[in-house]
């Protein structure tokens, strides 16, 4: 009996020692993993012997084309490029921000946002400066692109964000936002040609009412589309210089010319030009309505050519600049399409740059333009476009975009501006009231900037 007890005691001691050792090992393993010492977090393919470039994007319509181009590149060079799609764009943006904070960004990624966000990514070291590559061989690579497309990815000397000057992204495609008109619906409403002036445009409202046709659709439930429209007319009514002075805080939003910009939306609402429910409409719905011939006009970007072709291949429509109201040159919102950035901490930085250089070559850009019906960023590929896409391409030189402006408006002012326009459209507030409200937000933000 004594012998059995002794054996039991020995077993207990051994078992406890085993458990102790087991827990110590587990604990070490846990710490090792949690601290990331195991390596490979976020860029799990680093330990693979062959080069694998990871790329994240949000472009659902281009995913198959990217996969095809990646396969071609691997066949040609042996370098594997893995494209991962994260959609919709809001989710993609959140993923990129979270990855930046965690230090797990892929080798290639794109940024959706304002220039100040782009600047923050650069300052934090998440984006590589491509200037030396772009300027090599008499700037051969840089000169391939539309100047507007490069400008969006460029920080000039003495920029307000204090970013080291240079080009920080490779443009993939360009876009601009214009007005589209349905030829059949205009004819049905007894309108012979698209409007050339603002007054002609407003006068069409009566004809739309008589014929039961709805006017303009656009994704004005997404704030930025309202901003595009208003910005076009701000340039047209007061000129670029005055717009920039307003952003600098030298001219108030209560200026009569700004009130005139706000008033355009009231005029459209009062003259039956706007589609019923446009203020909460997302752009996808607006695209469906225009493609299904439920609205005579659409305010949409050049990407719509692909979208409409998918929704209604027989849609007969034309492209036009929004009808002018003022005396200054109307500038369309555009230039910025999608761009790819190189992770500043990528282990395969040179290989990544080489791939992007190949991707922006004529052959690949022509393939992307043909398959996805987007305007290529490479200006040498612009010749083989459909008539509608060519109309968009023609307007590229008359485009502008906040990301190429020397000064940038505060996000809260933009929000107050866009929400204010919604309030005007639904008849809740007058243009003058909105101008006062926007100016109040502007002054508050200016004071805050002085304080911090």
């Amino acid at each position: 009996m004594q012998n059995v007890k002794s054996k039991m005691h020995n077993f207990n001691v051994k078992f406890k020692n085993f458990i102790f050792l087991f827990l110590i090992l587990n604990f070490t393993f846990l710490i090792f993993n949690l601290t990331g010492c195991g390596g490979g977090a976020g860029q799990g393919d680093r330990i693979q012997p062959a080069v694998t470039i990871n790329a994240w994007h949000w472009m659902t319509d281009r995913d198959d084309a990217f996969a095809e181009l990646a396969a071609r590149y691997e066949k040609k060079t042996g370098v594997k490029v893995k494209f991962e799609l994260y959609a919709p764009s809001d989710s993609y943006t959140q993923k990129v921000r979270a990855a930046a904070q965690a230090g797990t960004l892929p080798d290639i990624f794109g940024l959706l946002g304002e220039k100040r966000d782009f600047a923050s990514f650069v300052i934090a070291g998440h984006v590589a400066n491509l200037d030396s590559e772009m300027l090599r061989d008499n700037a051969a690579w840089k000169n391939k692109f539309f100047s507007r497309a490069i400008a969006v990815n460029e920080f000039l000397p003495d920029n307000e964000f204090k970013v080291e000057p240079g080009v920080y992204g490779v443009p993939l495609d360009v876009m601009n936002i214009q007005m589209l008109y349905n030829k059949k619906l205009l004819k049905d409403a007894g309108i012979k040609r698209p409007p050339k002036t603002w007054d002609e445009f407003l006068a069409m409202g009566e004809k739309f009412k008589e014929s039961g046709v709805q006017g303009l659709v656009s994704g004005w439930g997404e704030m930025w589309m309202i901003d595009c429209f208003a910005s076009n007319y701000a340039f047209n009514i007061m000129g670029e210089e005055k717009v920039m002075k307003t952003i600098k805080g030298e001219i108030p939003y209560t200026d009569p010319e700004w009130i005139a910009v706000f008033n355009l939306f009231k005029e459209m609402a009062d003259n039956n030009i706007l589609y019923n429910g446009i203020v909460t409409m997302v752009n996808k719905t607006a695209e469906q309505l225009f493609a299904n011939e439920r609205a005579a006009f659409a305010f949409n970007g050049s990407w719509c050519v692909n979208v409409y072709a998918g929704m209604n291949p027989d849609l007969d429509y034309g492209v036009m600049f929004p009808p002018a109201k003022g005396d200054f040159l109307m500038k369309a919102w555009g230039g910025a399409g999608s761009s790819f950035l190189v992770n500043g901490r990528s282990l395969f930085k040179q290989e990544t740059i080489d791939f992007l250089r190949w991707l922006s070559d004529d052959e690949q850009q022509a393939y992307l333009a043909e398959v996805t019906k987007n305007l290529p960023a490479n200006k040498d590929c612009i010749t083989k476009l459909t008539p509608v896409l060519a109309s968009f391409a023609k307007a590229m030189e008359d485009t502008t975009h906040p990301n190429i402006w020397p000064v940038h408006e505060f996000p809260l002012v933009i929000e107050a501006f866009d929400k204010g326009i919604q309030a005007i459209i639904i008849g809740e507030k007058s243009p003058a009231e909105i101008a006062v409200e926007v100016q109040k937000v502007k002054e508050k933000e200016l004071n805050k900037r002085r304080q911090y």
């Binding site: 406890k16 458990i19 102790f20 827990l23 110590i24 587990n26 604990f27 846990l30 949690l34 809001d90 943006t93 959140q94 921000r97 930046a100 904070q101 946002g113 304002e114 100040r116 966000d117 923050s120 990514f121 300052i123 934090a124 070291g125 998440h126 709805q214 994704g219 439930g221 997404e222 704030m223 589609y275 019923n276 429910g277 446009i278 203020v279 909460t280 409409m281 997302v282 439920r294 996000p411 809260l412 929000e415 929400k419 919604q422 309030a423 639904i426 809740e428 911090y452």
Partner: protein, 293 residues
Amino acid sequence: MNGKLKSTLINYLFVLPAVLIFAIFYIYPFLKVFQLSMVEWDGILPTMQFIGLDNFKEIMQDKIWWDSMWHAGYITLIALTFQNGLALLLALVCDREIKGRNFFRVLFFVPPILSEVVVGLVWQWILDGNYGILNNLLSSIGLHSLVHNWLSDPKTALTCIAIVHSWKGFGWGFIIMLAGLQTIPRQLYEAARVDGAGSWQMFSKVTLPLMIPVFSMVVILTILGSMQVFVLIIAMVGQGLVYHTTVPVLRILGAMTGSSRFGYACAQGIIFGLILIIISFTQKKFSEKIKQA
């Protein structure tokens, strides 16, 4: 190492993984939110600027924030009354021996398991001002004066959202209340009937008092769920109809991803969390008092 110390260490080691996970995934983020609420930071830049309680001061003066709180409160109020009233009514019906009650139990639980995005888009289509079923129905029965764009009118947009939210959520209350009703001993009803109690007396003197703990739980779940609604709103009205459909979670999301104000968003999150805690505790105390009475 003596045996007792070793044994103590082993005990601690057993607990350690759980403590570590709790600390890393709960305590650290919680403290980090407090730290971030006192800085001006865009979420990306390597530097943060300490600004003390300025974010909290700004929230106190932020009219849009407090309006959004009122909107969430309005949605919650409709959910507490309409949603839970409907849930109780249907639970009472399904608690009886009626034909096909299992079918109804399944049917009433379908809306909660549907995706909020799907529900939002389907209702957006129903409420559409141009081609919506609701307007067609109103026209066909001669109520032309009521036909309008429900989601683009500030007078109706938030109420529509609240009703759709209630429609989607009543199934949870229904299931919990039905489970609660089934725990009430049938003998109590029989005894009440023997004593001459009618249907209303049985409901008010037997069912209601015994259901108070269930009501309490349903009310807390409704408040927490309704105050935090936002996916449905995005699906129905995009980024919103001016500020008429804005709720606190959308403001927090907007501050974080739209305006790149991480610190302000964290401060909003803390204030919102505190308000929810206060509401929950008040409601709990209130329920306890009713129960004691």
